[in-house]
Symmetry: C2
């Protein structure tokens, strides 16, 4: 696994949030789990642009950061389910408000982002 070479900077609350939510697909993952799409395979199918490897990595980070928890059922074939922790739940209103901001300004932003 990759080992950090420089310390993370978490001076302020903003940084804590960003540290947890940065990652190309993390918000999607949290949002999916919130909407009952909770098994690895389901998540992959729901977010087809992301590779399995990356989703796995980001799910693992979300678990490590206390946003998601995963339950592994001891059955064959294997079954795993992710769910929001209490901390993860507390993130939902914020995610919702950032999404709202994005949608409200989509027209303007799309133009600017795509040069």
């Amino acid at each position: 696994m990759y080992e950090r070479k420089t310390p993370v900077t978490i001076d302020c609350g903003l940084h804590l949030f960003m540290e947890v939510m940065n990652g190309k697909w993390k918000i999607n993952l949290v949002w999916c789990v919130y909407n009952e799409i909770k098994r690895p395979g389901e998540l992959r199918r729901k977010i087809p642009n992301a590779t399995r490897r990356v989703l796995e990595g980001q799910l693992k980070q979300l678990v490590n950061h206390g946003i998601l928890s995963n339950k592994s059922y001891d059955v064959k074939p294997p079954k795993v389910e992710y769910s929001l922790t209490e901390l993860g739940e507390s993130l939902i209103p914020i995610i919702r408000s950032t999404a709202k901001w994005g949608e409200e300004n989509r027209e303007k932003l799309e133009k600017l982002i795509l040069e």
Copy 2:
């Protein structure tokens, strides 16, 4: 300058927000400008861990994304000031709420983030 090789993904509002705010120091920069720390030199001194080069790049992106605007006074020595656009202003409550979330959960998060 660096040229992207893969298209950006902005399916949802969350992504629009992340696209604009991702970058190690962007939230700090926006927050500083909101608090009247608006000249390049001031910003560098306020955020000493960031290199000038990176701050310049992120400021430029924030301007390109319509969050900040910069006014260049034609004086010697040169003087430049950044300010929030209307779009940038609309981001303030959201930044505030993410910061609040981070601070409220700092103890827990610090522990988790630092392994």
